[in-house]
């Protein structure tokens, strides 16, 4: 055996890397905690029943943010009911039916590009297409559809990857029992891919719920609760943006940010819990 002069023994290298990797992981968590903690520290003191459930006074200097909370759920809901079926069905088609033609490669490339386009561009498109061309005006619908466009690529890619990750042996087992291709897809493949698809939907939702630029030009900035999809609205991120940039009220901006962060945390944690429970039931561990 040829022995090379070692600068450092494998044993020490292992120890050093342990420290480095643990340190980096720890750092990432600490940064996250500091950011969330800072927002909550500044935002939570604003919390009161009136702040959460009241209407804003003036342009938000005081009063509450209830219309903004409603607006947020409203536009996000519209975005998801449009983007989820489109994204998931497109993912099924890409993963199970499309094969490997040049067209498919182009579609995949387009989806990846769309996922990285700045949101302000989506906003501009939403303004010219939904608001002006389709005459939907500044409304929950225009904003929701614009957000849907942003969420689709995220949902599509994540769902496609998780559908492709379903073992071939499941599909063969199903086909061998006389199931058709579609039966195999909706009875075996999709249930097995549900955790991944759900993650994609949550990522898409997170992208929609926190989006400001894409709705800036499409949803209007109304301070009242939107009563229908045709009404203008003001979701939380947009309200936050206006409060902060127009110097309306910094404390209320922090309060709004804290609400937004809490909503996202609650949705993510509860979905994770449900996905884990589902996976456990499905995989028996």
């Amino acid at each position: 055996m040829i022995s090379m002069p070692r600068i450092i023994s494998p044993h020490h290298a292992q120890k050093i890397m342990n420290v480095v990797l643990w340190g980096v992981g720890f750092l990432a968590i600490v940064i996250l905690i500091i950011i969330i903690g800072y927002i909550l520290y500044n935002g939570l003191p604003q919390f009161s029943l009136e702040f959460i459930f009241g209407n804003p006074v003036g342009s938000g200097e005081s009063g509450g943010i209830w219309p903004m909370i409603v607006s947020t759920f409203y536009v996000t809901f519209i975005a998801l009911i449009v983007a989820t079926p489109l994204g998931v069905l497109a993912a099924i088609w890409l993963a199970e039916y499309a094969g490997e033609s040049n067209l498919v490669k182009a579609i995949r490339f387009a989806a990846e590009t769309l996922a990285s386009i700045p949101s302000i561009v989506f906003g501009l498109f939403g303004l010219t297409f939904f608001v002006v061309f389709l005459q939907m005006g500044f409304s929950v619908l225009s904003g929701g559809l614009t957000l849907a466009l942003m969420a689709i690529p995220t949902i599509l890619r994540t769902a496609e990857v998780s559908i492709e990750a379903v073992p071939q042996s499941y599909k063969e087992g199903s086909l061998a029992l006389g199931a058709s291709k579609w039966q195999t897809i909706y009875r075996v493949v999709i249930p097995a891919a549900i955790p991944g698809i759900t993650t994609g939907i949550i990522l898409g939702m997170a992208r929609a719920i926190e989006e400001t630029a894409a709705i800036l030009y499409t949803v209007g900035a109304a301070l009242a609760i939107p009563m229908s999809i045709w009404d203008p609205a003001r979701p939380l991120p947009l309200h936050l943006y206006i409060l902060a940039t127009e110097g309306v009220s910094l404390p209320n901006a922090y309060g709004t940010a804290a609400v937004l962060v809490l909503i996202i945390l609650i949705i993510t944690i509860s979905t994770n819990y449900l996905v884990e429970k589902y996976t456990k039931k499905m995989m028996g561990r």
Binding site: G173, S180, R187
Partner: protein, 252 residues
């Protein structure tokens, strides 16, 4: 003359340009076990998967010659492949239960074929699990995931799942190669039990297994059938030198 259920004549198969099976003639007797033996890559599995048209999903697959199931060519355009696979079930090398409950695994084929009657499903699932000698081990946890079972139990579940749709033929592609000896014995016992009711075709690399479970054997080499006939005859006095070399372990 035996009662023949599957009749294969002049079968040639290709993946792209590569010629896998060459002029295969084979008669499969009804309600008996037929072993397919031969070294890896000799075409046994391709042959097996041609019988339930599992190769159809591979775009480059091409087949010439005829395969009759009860006198009907299974590759005829008017044959519904779903129907064929209901009649010709398959158990795979690696146990592949679905990530569903034990009950739903067995009920799967029945549901797929339109049976949604709860009582009937329960009755058939129980009967199939009993027939697969798994009922006593799982009867108290039918709602648990099948993924939590041991490998041997999973394979018996896959057999239960297959017999639930009441096929005539069961194809088994090295069903024990991923299992421990005790589980293997259980599967072999099961094969003995099932052969009265089903026609079983089993691919195996295990010579002893072929002699233990099958009445008939076909020896494949380089895509051709070198020798076929009664298992006893082939293992005791093979006619072909290559068969003798293979079963005595001189190659493969």
């Amino acid at each position: 003359m035996e009662n023949i259920i599957i009749e294969v004549k002049e079968l040639n198969t290709y993946f792209d340009e590569s010629h896998i099976l060459k002029d295969v003639y084979l008669d499969i007797p009804r309600n008996a076990v037929t072993s397919l033996i031969g070294p890896s890559g000799c075409g046994k599995s391709t042959f097996l998967r041609t019988l339930n048209r599992m190769n159809d999903v591979i775009p480059t697959f091409k087949k010439e010659g005829t395969i009759f199931l009860d006198g009907k060519e299974i590759y005829d355009p008017d044959v519904d492949v779903v129907d064929l696979r209901k009649r010709v079930g398959m158990v795979f090398q690696k146990p592949n239960p679905f990530p569903k409950s034990i009950f739903e695994n067995v009920a799967y084929g029945l549901r797929v074929h339109g049976n949604n009657d709860k009582n009937d499903l329960e009755r058939r699932v129980e009967a199939s699990l009993k027939e697969a000698a798994l009922w006593d081990e799982v009867k108290d946890k039918l709602d648990d995931s099948a993924m939590g079972l041991s490998g041997g139990q999973q394979q018996r579940l896959c057999i239960a799942r297959t017999i639930a749709v009441e096929p005539e033929v069961i194809l088994m592609d090295e069903p024990c190669s991923a299992l421990d000896p005790i589980s293997t014995t259980k599967i072999e016992d099961l094969i003995h039990k099932l052969k009265n009711e089903f026609t079983i075709i089993i691919v195996t690399h295990n010579m002893q297994q072929a002699t233990r479970v099958s009445k008939y054997t076909a020896f494949f080499l380089h895509g051709e059938i070198v020798e076929k006939g009664l298992t006893d005859k082939i293992f005791i006095e093979p006619e072909d030198k290559r068969t003798e070399d293979y079963i005595t372990g001189r190659f493969g």
